[in-house]
Symmetry: C2
Subunit: 318 residues, 2 copies
């Protein structure tokens, strides 16, 4: 691959060139060493985009909802970046969800940029990669960045924790709700959507969410609203955008936006530090071969994980 | 608190004293500095227990199934340790599932030991704490250790990755299955259980699991069996134990047991190293106050996360 001119790429992003955008995202996804400089250069231009999470189980209609939301923001003249996090197995790395309905029509609109990311195969993890791509889209000038996730796994939870407003999408039907609610998704929602609200049981689902919400112990001043939508018919999207806007106002006036932005910074830096630490530890203080032999020694009881960890830490000077 | 005599505690565990067991587990859960020495002392006595994961959504009947399995292994004269991982919110730390049905009768049987662990509040994380408690139970002489989890979040996925055989519990009803399957739980199952199999739709669920299994790309030689149970009536438990035993034989003959045990060692040591790194980095190379000021600088664009991480890493000598 040709040497990457970071200055040119940075200028390309600032000038809004789509070719530079695609190049930059590829660089960032690969965690190319040059990406770090690019991101450092772009960082001062970030902070203007609204970063929204759209979280829900497969089958909840997230893609259709994201599509409808993108159209809504476009109709207001805003530019929309979309990051779809595709759930893949934590064990084989194979994507199960190949049947995602893509928003083909939107691709011809330069005001919408869509990127799919699989949950594996990113150096430093999905959370690192997603946040870096959000920064690139933000610096490029997208007004809204939608991050669509299933919300399962620490990686995805980390992604959710770095958005400004998280929209949790549910569908009518008790089974799904119990799942979503009891698995902790309940407490990560700033706004709840009951999508496919033309199906039977929509009102019951709204009631159930309200009931579960009353059981959550600690509440901030913000009481998450529940919005009914039929994304396929683009119904309720204005209400949803309104609820998101209200949450934005709450974030700003309560100081929560500052708190969340700070937490976002902390998560990002610590994720990167921990990964760099392991990379350098195995490589600079111990060869990969000796590290492997050490694991074998522990496995066969010639050593134990506790003393081995201490011995490795002793080689690092703080 | 009185000074802990680790030699006495280690001897107590080896001699099978229950008071020492409870003390040791408390020590380990707190990640007390003395716990490291205790675990290092006990480590050579580990490796004899069967470590089984029982993973499934709330409402799948995991607790009842674990109860029935414990009775089964007890009837064969085996001692059973049970670790129940209670899902709590990643954000408020409050346990939602207070309604767990506990296996009161079993408490009077010294051959069964039950410990509940919440998913938050452990230094070094739940995965670290759970694995250390598994080691204590193993060293104490429990023949089987059952680790019950909901299987959501990286912490729990890490726990699942460290068991020898993972049993995924499903219930009849399409909604639940789609959830479980698509969220990646499908590929973490060594044995599948369709519990509450006296309900309508049990056979359909078996068919669905079979269908989904055929879609999973990479398969090992092991084809996960699907066992129907009615845990509340203790039906199908012998079949389940048989399937687990067959998986054990596969693990041993294929070399997969060695591979998994090695991966368990690797995950455990790296989790501990990363946590110790962050603890020492913020404290020894930078004061918590200056670290906090650094995050503020990044937040307000006076610095960027990439250069800040590099600067921190530069202070560490490998």
């Amino acid at each position: 691959m040709a040497r990457i001119d970071i200055d040119q790429l940075t200028a390309g992003i600032r000038d809004g060139r789509y070719r530079a955008l695609a190049q930059a995202i590829s660089l960032v996804e690969r965690d190319d060493p040059a990406a770090t400089r690019l991101l450092a250069e772009l960082y001062p231009s970030t902070g203007k985009a609204r970063i929204l999470g759209i979280t829900g189980s497969p089958g909840a209609g997230k893609s259709t909802l994201v599509d409808a939301m993108a159209r809504h923001y476009r109709s207001l003249g805003q530019r929309v970046g979309i990051i779809c996090v595709d759930p893949t197995s934590p064990f084989t790395g194979g994507a199960i969800l190949g049947d995602r309905i893509r928003m083909q029509e939107l691709y011809t609109d330069k005001g919408v940029f869509i990127r799919s990311m699989a949950t594996r195969g990113f150096m430093g993890g999905l959370s690192r990669a997603t946040n870096d791509v959000v920064d690139v889209l933000d610096a490029f000038g997208f007004d809204v960045v939608l991050v669509e996730t299933v919300g399962v796994g620490q990686d995805e939870v980390d992604v959710i924790r770095t958005v400004q407003t998280n929209v949790v999408v549910l569908v009518p039907g008790m089974g799904d709700d119990i799942q979503a609610i009891k698995a902790g998704i309940m407490e990560i929602g700033d706004v709840f959507v009951v999508n496919k609200a033309d199906r039977p049981g929509a009102d019951r689902t709204v009631t159930e969410v309200n009931m579960m919400m009353s059981l959550v112990e600690e509440h901030s001043e913000w009481v998450p609203p529940i919005v009914k939508t039929v994304a396929s018919l683009r119904q309720g999207i204005g209400d949803l955008a309104g609820a998101i806007e209200k949450h934005r106002e709450y974030l700003v006036t309560s100081g929560e936006l500052e708190r969340r932005s700070r937490e976002r910074v902390r998560i990002r830096i610590e994720t990167r530090l921990k990964d760099q630490f392991m990379q350098r530890l195995v490589g600079e203080t111990i060869t990969p071969e000796r590290y492997s032999a050490m694991l074998d020694d522990i496995l066969h009881k010639r050593d134990n994980p506790h003393d081995a960890a201490s011995a490795l830490m002793d080689r690092v000077k703080f």
